[in-house]
Symmetry: C2
Subunit: 416 residues, 2 copies
């Protein structure tokens, strides 16, 4: 069974959604559970109700829009993402995954196709974390990572709880969190990185998510006057930090497969002064790898190098691991289904692991999951300049349609 | 002719001066031309008047206290330093040089010795630069580096001019700046570094001052999400800065003579965030060397390494040299006189170049000059914990006495 999605209609719906909460430079601002976010959701519901879909909202505001199947006693095959944005976000991050689901529904509707399993289009609440920390809190609650009570009690900067914001938005639902169970979940998303664009590929078959670990590092040496203090008597905290950074950068760059990532996002010299040797330096470290064992080894290398750099420069070092997110492997059958659909369509693609977090990470704990990436210009997201071409959006949506259809009808995507 | 200074009396005068503007943890606060600074000067004047000395003040507040010689038509042999301190300064920085001069006067007085040339004890105004920038502004004015008008117009943080502060302090003198001409100038000072202490030496024979150059560096790469951005597609401004720092540190540490110094005192990541690759980094660079030609080469190496690091990491680099202070060589005969006096006394010593600026740097432009250093504990100064032992203060004062006496009487210090 072949269906072809309508690329132009998909683009029009993306542009129409972007008119809700527009920003000065062409982006979108729909912070979670604000009037704009609620208006975006209502627009989506109107579009879906016109297709005869029904919808429910769970207690943390996750919105489930169902397209009935022949066997409504079976768990639905689901897709979706989020409609909330960063304060100055783009038109594609999250939105594409939701409106591609809508486009699949519309395509099936005009062809009069009813799938065996029902389909479910999900809008997860507060994915961005810009209004309520942490990010992905509502898909995390769905997956059992957070309690409903703790999620409802999260506060924004003005002290408004997520629960109160839900009530105000009209999206405080009554469905138990964790309902409905999903047969599977497929999320289309922009890559938010430069890999596909650089390789000239249309589709990323996302097999999982990199493991990540965060550290706070402190280096304590001895502040001293730059003029009279000989190099060999110094205890320069910045010198030790710089060597650590350079060593780990070199190590990561030396990984020919490109699976190792190290990032030092913040570095502060305590009471730094132009002619004073830095006595105290603070540093953040972000280590990522696609393989958990290799990530362990990377962590050990970091510890070793830190100790060695401290030793060489006479600097006392300490570190604390403040966050650890293991490597996530998506469901093999789901990933294979996406890859087969992509291959069948003849789209250039690669398998990859997501470097960023997504709702799919939590959902994958309770349902077989995979993701589909499409390139975005210059790898830029969380920015009004975020852009994915109509062609790439359409290809991603087509792969999603083929994958959902095959899964919901119980045949392999190769058979399309 | 032998004289022996009174170590105990010197120490008592140091401790007495520290009672003017005491700080909580045993240091001193006598910011330039405040009531405390003026009280310190008046105390010194009282002590000197008791010895029959006369005094004059020039238009920028430099205080000249004269001990008459047999030939008052000749230019005086001078010593001195400063009495102003940092906001939480110590009891020795500057003060030792002034009170050692007083101790020499007292020693000569009790022995009834009149030198051939007159002696002059000088207190330079605002050496620290803590109240009025820049440091050493009044000795600089004496040496012709700054005009009297510009110096009097310098403002402190409250908008009070140096001229107004002089009037308020009672030390707005009438003597032309540049008067009196000096036969020579010898300044005793704590080292403000760890070299002498580490080597177990009592005296530093200061042959000059290192050259120094200051730079502002900016590195512009591309901020991007740490997760999805492969190492090879990054333009990490901090990575480039870290390599630059490590390369130049290694170069300086590789200088077996220890003549090369590099310091990176400030480093800022613009809008740094834990999981964002640094797009923009600012860095200060302080390069020092005892040899001007080698300092030129060091500057060229810095430029080369900066360009290379930028190239490797795809980062645009810019730098601006914001200050250049050439290597200063003190007068060979004056340095030799100090060394001969030290040797004759049998004190352990080394010749060295000062890493910090001193009034002597400016004075050396208009009069033959040398300096004497004594060790200070842990190399610490500009700090309430600053400490020089009574023995070291006494040895420095003894070398100063011998040197002044020889110079003022026209014989070599070896002949003492």
């Amino acid at each position: 069974m072949h269906v072809t999605i309508d690329a132009e209609r998909l683009w029009e719906s993306l542009m129409a959604m972007a008119e809700i909460g527009p920003t000065q430079h062409g982006g979108s601002c729909r912070l979670a559970l604000t009037d704009e976010d609620a208006a975006g959701r209502r627009r989506l519901i109107e579009w879906c109700e016109a297709l005869g879909c029904t919808w429910r909202v769970d207690r943390v505001g996750n919105l489930f829009i169902r397209r009935a199947g022949r066997r409504d006693d079976l768990d639905p095959v689901a897709t979706g993402s989020h409609l909330d944005t960063q304060p100055r976000g783009g038109r594609f991050d999250g939105v594409l995954g939701v409106l591609a689901g809508l486009e699949v529904f519309r395509t099936l509707d005009e062809r009069g196709i009813v799938t065996e399993r029902p389909l479910e289009l999900v809008v997860w609440t507060n994915e961005e974390g810009s209004r309520f920390a942490p990010a992905m809190v509502a898909s995390g609650t769905y997956a059992g990572e957070f309690s409903v009570e703790s999620t409802l009690a999260r506060e924004d900067r003005d002290g408004v709880t997520l629960g109160a914001a839900l009530e105000a938005s009209g999206f405080a639902g009554g469905m138990a969190v964790g309902e409905p169970r999903l047969d599977s979940f497929f999320e289309l998303h922009i890559e938010q990185g430069p890999v596909l664009e650089a390789a000239g590929e249309s589709i990323g078959v996302v097999a999982g998510v990199q493991g990540m670990r965060w550290y706070d590092v402190s280096l304590d040496g001895q502040a001293a006057h730059a003029g009279p203090t000989p190099m060999r008597l110094r205890r320069d905290a910045l010198a030790a930090a710089a060597r650590l950074i350079d060593r780990l950068q070199s190590h990561a760059l030396g990984d020919a497969r490109g699976d190792t990532k190290v990032t030092f996002g913040c570095l502060d010299i305590v009471q730094g002064s132009r002619n004073v040797i830095p006595g105290e330096t603070r540093l953040t470290v972000d280590l990522r790898h696609v393989d958990e064992t290799e990530l362990d080894a990377l962590e050990q290398r970091f510890e070793r190098e830190l100790a060695a750099c401290g030793e060489v420069f006479g600097v006392t070092t300490r570190f604390e691991r403040i966050w650890k997110s293991p490597v996530v492997h998506f469901d093999a059958a789901c990933v294979e289904a996406v890859e087969a659909a992509t291959r069948t369509r003849g789209f250039s693609y690669r398998r990859l692991l997501s470097g960023a977090g997504h709702d799919s990470v939590y959902v994958s704990r309770v349902a077989p999951t995979a993701m589909i990436f499409v390139p975005c210009r210059d790898g830029i997201s969380h920015n009004e300049a975020e852009y994915a071409s109509p062609e790439h959006c359409a290809r991603g949506c087509q792969v999603l349609a083929d994958t959902l259809l095959a899964r919901a009808n119980g045949y392999a995507t190769e058979a399309l």
